[in-house]
Subunit: 79 residues, 2 copies
């Protein structure tokens, strides 16, 4: 079972890495870039067969290790 996890900075948290990307794109001639936010994308392959219990465990993984809940949000998706 493949789980896809997105970890993004909360809206109010400054994203200096995203600003650098936005500035670099502008200096390369890409106009019309209003905002860039960079996050993490993690794919986890699990042995689990039960979707509900997998999502529960993935939530726990995010809260314990993968995301910093003070400044980051996460979302879990299973295909």
């Amino acid at each position: 079972m493949l789980a896809k996890i997105h970890i993004t900075l909360k809206k109010d948290v400054l994203d200096p890495q995203g600003s650098v990307i936005a500035n670099s794109l502008k200096s390369l001639g890409f106009d019309g870039v209003k905002d860039v936010r960079q996050g993490k994308y993690i794919e986890i392959t699990l042995d689990d067969n039960d979707k509900d219990s997998a999502i529960k465990r993935l939530d726990e993984m995010c809260e314990k290790l993968l995301a910093n809940m003070v400044i980051e949000d996460y979302s879990v998706e299973i295909n």
Copy 2:
């Protein structure tokens, strides 16, 4: 217009960061984690109104700046 870009290592490229996450999850007691791959997730807000031309420009952004085409794949998605 909000574009979502996923940048992932190509399948044959080793992902040491993913391995570290997998090992950390195991040592925290999460069994059944078979594989972890870490990638980047970038949200770009564009002024564009035309989806097709936006996708063309986003492809160019990925190839010129965001992704390292030797070792990474990317996908562009617009809602």
